[in-house]
Subunit: 305 residues, 2 copies
């Protein structure tokens, strides 16, 4: 990785150097480097662009980092990554894409991530999206995440898109067996003329399954956000979905959740709230010596923490 | 009205005799009787089936009853009723449709009600739907209510569909000017193989406008319910939507709200919850001597009160 790529890498992973454990770094559509461990194998797909990640049953306290960095303008790619998580494993997976586009052309990364989480396995999955660039080239990212969780399995998914993505269409689908659980936390900020669409779809098919989807978003300037969340209770299950959004300037935000109970023992709740920053909060911080802009910044940062 | 029609009339209006004030009673697609007052006029439409109701500006403490009763099997009708409410008026309007279908054919009533509520006028609008019949003929009702409220106007709308409607597709649309307010309360119970679809759409176009949509529903047996609620904040406004549903037996329920902030000063909230009757509640009532069925009945009745 060159200096620009290393900077994107740091934004995505929070690391200043190549991580320990398994990793696969993709830079400008090519494999930059890869490491596997005794328990985690990474294999390049032969039929299409992407990799298979195999985590052996029982693997504990290991991590996989698979960042993608793009520093070339006009690069468009679609990558398929499949995660096969063995029974009883407990791993951290860090993915994400950073684009530095200083040219005039559109740069686009579509990542299709499919998880097969075995019995009683636990996955913490972190996905960050970050864009930068002084040019006029658009940065586009369309992440799709498909999650299948077997009996007793658990996934905690954290997605963050804070800056610089001009257009994004985010799709996350989950399918839960008996006693499987998923917790999804999304944080999005859009500015300028950006648009962001998020769609969650969770099927709770097994008794004792549960889903918790939490979205926090801030829309500034002329940006537009749409949040969809579809939660289907097809068994004895608990579903909860929550969308809190702060609207600023001339932004527009829609929240369109959908809860469906197809089973007598499905218990489903949804909450959504859209509003601007409360005036009292701003005044309070301004009396402490902050300017209005600084006060807003602090409230927004706290909200997205 | 004959005895069966009178019984339907009582179910709809809660009255044992013809009401005081203005009324228009429609029985089996014909005008049964009508009364107007010095301030409220009712005029038969000439271009289509239906009536125009004119309430003079400043009319206070008057009421209009316009029940529709159908006791013939196989009767299908579509009726257009327009309500012109003068500036500063304050009136009660009671509408609704009762079908007694003891034949084999489908009976259907579609009522398209359009309200033009003048400046600072207040309307309480009650609409009940009730079906009965020992035959196999289906009872179908598709009420559409379109509400336009001028500056400072207010409407409180109460709709109830408790029994005997096999299929219903309910649409309510509201358009609110400056400082206009609407409060909608819906109560629905479906049983057998009934289906009910409810769609609310409110545009808050004026500064200071507000909308509150509250739906409580119970789905029993094999019935299906879908609840849509679309609230658009296009100005400085407050919107709140709430859907609470009890699921029983093999019923299916979906809640699909949609809140959209198109203005920085729009403040919007949605809540939805679907679940079955809590076990503890049932046990508590059973220890007081009720059977399980009686306990369920009491909880459901309390919920829909």
């Amino acid at each position: 990785m060159d200096k620009i790529q290393m900077e994107l890498f740091e934004q995505l992973t929070g690391l200043h150097e190549i991580p320990a454990g398994a990793y696969n770094i993709r830079a400008n559509s090519k494999k930059d480097s890869r490491n596997t461990t005794a328990n985690i194998d990474i294999v390049t797909k032969e039929d299409k662009d992407g990799i298979d990640i195999y985590v052996k049953p029982g693997t504990k306290n290991e991590s996989v980092h698979i960042p993608v960095v793009i520093s070339k303008t006009g690069l468009e790619e679609c990558v398929y990554n499949d995660f096969h998580i063995g029974e009883g494993a407990d791993v951290l997976i860090v993915a994400g894409c950073g684009i530095h586009n200083s040219g005039d052309k559109l740069s686009r990364h579509d990542g299709i991530h499919t998880f097969y989480i075995g019995k009683n396995a636990r996955v913490k999955y972190v996905e960050k999206h970050y864009g930068k660039g002084d040019g006029n080239g658009e940065n586009v990212m369309n992440p799709t995440t498909i999650v299948n969780i077997e009996e007793g399995g658990y996934m905690e998914m954290e997605t963050v898109q804070i800056k610089g993505i001009d257009s994004t269409n985010r799709v996350t689908k989950g399918k839960l067996d008996k006693d499987a659980k998923i917790v999804i936390t999304e944080r999005i900020m859009t500015h300028g003329n950006q648009t962001a669409t998020t769609r969650f779809e969770v099927d709770m098919d097994g008794d004792g399954s549960s889903a918790n989807v939490i979205s926090r978003s801030v829309a500034r300037d002329n940006s537009k956000q749409i949040f969809y969340s579809v939660i289907n209770g097809n068994a004895r299950c608990n579903g909860h979905s929550e969308c809190d959004a702060i609207i600023m300037d001339n932004a527009k935000i829609s929240a369109i959740p959908e809860i469906t109970a197809n089973d007598l023992d499905a218990s489903l709740i949804h909450e959504a709230a859209i509003g601007k920053i409360a005036g009292e909060q701003l005044i309070k911080l301004q009396t402490l010596g902050l300017t209005e802009a600084e006060a807003e910044e602090q409230i927004v940062n706290g909200f997205l923490k």
